[in-house]
């Protein structure tokens, strides 16, 4: 959401213009200063910071999870392995990023819909979905997902049958959850690549439903 950076900061002593634009540059200045200090003290190599940013901007993202889901939709044996031990199953795919331990895949069915949240902070399966979107880390989702998941789903335009069980997984430890959405009708015979193209990030968090469309 556009407003998330527009907080005002009164915790430091400098006088400054409270215009929103300069608030951003204020953070830019403070963060740059901290990076300079950490670099000069020999704590971090700037090139390593560049590489971390680049990895999350260009390499590690929901396309990885989408490949996993597409494979599970196409290969029943892989699906069973994924649901039994997601970390181990994903390791067999030879993806660029190795997935850490304790990843758990949870399957949506016609009678049960899964949704993932971290009410305490922002725990999220980075290795298969990349960095979480702002809404996932923000107060409205963290507060309401566990109490009014149907209301949250309606914010996303998702309506489920009244008798569908909704299971919310609050990520309170180092376990991480990946939702395996249902394969949409009308995708029979599609290739894994075509299937992966319709697997949205939100559908792997449980706030979206993949739809068949011409890819």
């Amino acid at each position: 959401m556009a407003g998330h950076d527009r907080e005002h900061d009164h915790s430091h002593g400098h006088s400054h213009d409270h215009d929103h634009g300069s608030e951003l540059s204020e953070m830019q200045v403070r963060v740059r200063a901290l990076e300079t200090i950490l670099t000069e003290k020999g704590y971090v190599e700037p090139a390593a910071l560049d590489a971390i940013v680049e990895a999350y901007e260009t390499k590690i993202g929901p396309h990885i999870g989408a490949q996993v889901v597409a494979k599970a939709w196409s290969d029943p044996q892989f699906k069973n392995a994924l649901l039994a031990d997601a970390t181990k199953a994903i390791a067999t795919l030879g993806l660029e990023s190795r997935v850490g331990d304790h990843l758990i895949a949870v399957e949506n069915t016609p009678t049960r819909h899964n949704m993932v949240v971290c009410t305490l902070c922002s725990c999220y399966p980075w290795e298969v979905l990349g960095l979480p979107p702002v809404w996932y880390k923000a107060s409205p989702y963290r507060a309401r997902a566990v109490k009014d998941p149907r209301g949250v789903l309606s914010d996303f335009g998702v309506t489920l049958p009244n008798d569908t069980e909704i299971r919310v997984w609050d990520s309170t430890a180092e376990t991480r959850f990946l939702v395996l959405p249902m394969r949409p009708e009308g995708t029979e015979g599609w290739s894994e690549d075509d299937l992966a193209a319709i697997v949205t990030r939100d559908s792997m968090i449980g706030t979206g439903i993949p739809e068949a469309r011409n890819s």
Binding site: M1, R32, A33, K41, P133, D155, N162, I166, S171, T172
Partner: protein, 219 residues
């Protein structure tokens, strides 16, 4: 601690607003502060739960009024100051004024990247037997620790059912204090929505947390 970070079940924050085609970072500094947090964590200067706690102790108005990555900046700066790794004068000056101190695993360099791209395991060997088995009913303890904990307020004192057992894992409440791992059995415990939110709650909703054994008692 019973901080504002523990948001499950709070009202009044409004709708969830998703941003279409959201960029990974909304400004370059967000990426830099994310990277600095990951890098400094990898040097062994602190652990993940210490890092979480540094944000939990931000004053409530700061926590609620700051963007996500601004909280990361504030938490990181405070952890660096608390450990004497940087000095307030240096933040003011925007430059190092004294040489760095030794770090447990040394400077974070490009060659160390693989260490942060894959999450390290948190499971640990243990000599103890799991106190609970799958299907057991358990009650979460009514505890209100002043320090870091991963037992959210909204489940405390409620009865749920053990659904999964994950082995023994590093115990956040202790590792956040002094780095002692104190492995404890970890369970997925599932609650009926009505158990947590009362008889008027949606009967189709179930909520689970992952709970360490010290958070639980037999029913």
């Amino acid at each position: 601690m019973n901080g504002v970070h523990d948001m499950g079940g709070m009202d009044g924050f409004g709708k969830v607003e998703a941003e279409p085609d959201e960029p990974v970072f909304h400004a370059p500094w967000e990426g830099r502060i994310m990277a600095m947090n990951r890098a400094m964590g990898a040097t062994g200067a602190w652990n993940l739960d210490m890092s979480r706690f540094s944000r939990e102790v931000l004053p409530p108005h700061v926590y609620l009024g700051s963007s996500y990555y601004k909280k990361w900046y504030l938490g990181l700066a405070q952890m660096l100051l608390d450990r004497g790794l940087i000095d307030a004068d240096e933040i003011e000056a925007g430059h190092a004024l004294t040489p760095g101190k030794p770090l447990k695993r040394g400077r974070f360099e490009l060659k160390d990247m693989p260490r942060i791209l894959t999450r390290a395991p948190f499971s640990r060997p243990t000599n103890t037997e799991a106190r609970f088995k799958i299907g057991d009913n358990v009650r979460t303890r009514n505890i209100h620790p002043q320090g870091h904990t991963r037992l959210p307020r909204y489940v405390r004192g409620h009865v749920g059912t053990v659904e999964l057992i994950h082995g023994a894992h590093v115990f956040p409440d202790i590792v956040a204090v002094d780095g002692t791992e104190d492995p404890q059995w970890l369970y997925t415990v599932v609650f009926e929505g009505r158990e947590l939110w009362g008889p008027d709650a949606d009967p189709t909703v179930k909520i689970s947390i992952d709970a360490f054994e010290p958070y639980l008692e037999p029913v």
